[in-house]
Symmetry: C2
Subunit: 355 residues, 2 copies
DNA sequence: GTGAAAGCGCTAACAG
DNA sequence: CTGTTAGCGCTTTCAC
């Protein structure tokens, strides 16, 4: 011990000769300065209640003077926790209006930061949905994952469950009702119903739907909201729906066909991308959105916000999603026994010039 | 040592009774299974050349069997490196077309992943530009930072330099030519010149500029490209430039005034957000972008890509920026002595219907 | 309330 | 080429 102290002091000396905190101070440095043991400093940081007020003050002063912050690696090693949340991001989709995930990342970073967690991003490809998770898990680099693309029917959830890895999903376990992980999702049917009802309130009676292919759970969910709203007023849906790929071109083509064959006065779309396709068709035909034909998108992307004359769009409460996910994360991390549940949030409608 | 071995064996037993890799295997587990020392396993992972081929194969087999991956916390503690790159993200800007940073994050995550680094995101506010950096630095949570909003004249760069913290900036040190940190940037003047020349080639002679306020280094740089292109052909710039805030409304108002007072046939804008403002004005006046008036934006946002009839826009090579930044990061981390430099990349033009 | 001892899992340095 | 020793900085018992 005496040896170590001596070495420590020498280190201090060497460090103070250097310019800046190139080598950060350690617990031992603080202890020495405050004239207490290392454990006392640790307690001052982690269990301040255990210290006498005057001791705490003295230690705190030393901490401030030295600019001490506990070394994460050491703490992580000891506590077997990294306070890092892993999240995989897929390549950015160009040529679409989709930016939900980017907006969500912002919310997640802010919310988890308040809870003392940082977000670790890793890359993934659509080819191998499991890529990246395994390594991070085995090397105990993260405490938990946030899984976001459950809608693809991806196997991450099942795989993570089998590895007993803590995670929370943004999105319901559509294809696995027996799933036991916590999740947070937004009620897409309610969103589409909100959008459709909005158009009904504006006097529209023939309202078309442009959505995704039938194998998309989310797409079918949103579509159900549209048909529910129309049926509740005994209005027709036949011939008014189209299921296409999520591209601007598909939205453009689908809306052209619908306009010709079904004469709708309004469109509700499963995404802003598809809604932009509708705007393309209207522009081509010299029709003015909001005056001649009403259009509503989904996700309230930046595109919806800035395109003239403004695209009315269903807005997912991503901030609340992040809050719910972080809450669920803390739950499973701190109370592993507690049974996990799901949370379904309700979207709102951002009304703009297109309706 | 014998004690420890015995304990280790007991641990193994306990673990194997559990279902899954709830407790990941350690170096010692692999060593025991392969019948070698722990150090040999470490070498197999980090310096495979040091091992004889047959030993390596045996160790590798044990590693695979056990699904071993080195514990990051332990490795980080020992090597004093986290292989984490910190990056601060500001709150998402709603109501604008700006998404450069989101696109950049994707590229950075992918590129740094290939180099063995993960990206740690932390939140920040415009209020305190230093918030978050200090703690991460002192707790040695990250090996380096990527600083992105140098354009605000923010003090991070100077502060990080004074703390001798490794970092690379996306953006030139405009306000500090003496800066000694590496940086990567995109030549905004070249981009605006490219855009302006494009309109000149299409026959336009009166080309207006809508840019940012004079205190924006980036804005002035881009503006210089516009005026350079016009002056080189002896064309007028007087009365054709406007400096406003980066909002759609400002772009709308500025373009309306310019249209009335200077009769431009084309607009080059410092951002897609401003360009969208121009599209608003055109829509209001029944003018068709690309036919009646040409518009070019900056950043090639999703908005530019999907808005009818497509917004021509200067595209920053963010993938190359990320590659350059990661390269610089590896340089300063592995060769701290090597003098850092700056890299200036040239943007391209994505031509669409608006021109 | 405070202090001493132990050890998380790994790798750098050296010994064989 | 392989094994032994030591210790990164911290927190968790457990004495005092």
């Amino acid at each position: 011990m005496a040896d170590r102290m001596a070495d420590g002091t020498t280190d201090r000396l060497a460090r103070s000769l250097g310019r800046s905190p190139a080598v950060p101070p350690t617990l031992a440095d603080v202890a020495e300065r405050a004239g207490v043991s290392r454990q006392t400093v640790s307690n001052a940081v982690n269990n301040p209640d255990l210290l006498r007020a005057d001791t705490l003050a003295r230690v705190q002063e030393a901490i401030d003077d030295l600019g001490y912050s506990p070394n994460r690696a050491a703490r992580n090693l000891r506590t077997r926790a990294s306070h890092l949340i892993g999240m995989r991001i897929n390549p950015a989709q160009e040529g679409t209006a989709n930016a939900t995930m980017d907006r969500f990342v912002h919310s997640l970073v802010e919310t988890s930061g308040e809870a003392g967690y940082h977000v670790l991003l890793f890359a993934g490809t659509h080819q191998d949905p499991l890529e990246g998770y395994d390594d991070l898990l085995r090397s105990t680099a993260v405490d938990a994952f946030v899984v976001t693309d459950t809608y693809l029917g991806n196997p991450q959830a099942a795989w993570l469950e089998s590895r007993r890895a803590p995670f929370v999903a943004f999105g319901r376990p559509w294809d696995n009702p027996a799933a036991t992980h916590p999740w947070v999702d937004v009620d897409g049917a309610a969103g589409a119903e909100l959008a459709t009802t909005h158009l009904l309130d504006r006097g529209h009676r023939r309202i078309a739907w442009i959505g995704w292919r039938k194998d998309s759970f989310i797409g079918e969910d949103r579509r159900a909201g549209w048909s529910r709203a129309l049926r509740s007023r005994d209005l027709p849906t036949t011939g008014l729906a189209s299921r296409v790929e999520d591209t601007v071109a598909s939205g453009r083509e689908a809306s052209a066909v619908l306009l010709d064959e079904a004469q709708p006065t309004g469109f509700v779309c499963a995404s802003d991308t598809l809604a932009m396709g509708v705007l393309h068709t209207l522009a081509q035909r010299g029709l003015v959105p909001g005056r001649d034909v009403a259009v509503v998108g989904f996700d309230d992307s930046q595109v919806a916000q800035v395109v003239p004359p403004g695209l009315t769009s269903v807005r997912q409460p991503l901030e609340d999603v992040a809050v719910g996910i972080v809450k669920a994360l803390e739950d499973i991390l701190n109370h592993p026994s507690r049974p996990p549940g799901g949370v379904l949030l309700t979207p709102t409608l951002a009304v703009r010039g297109s309706s």
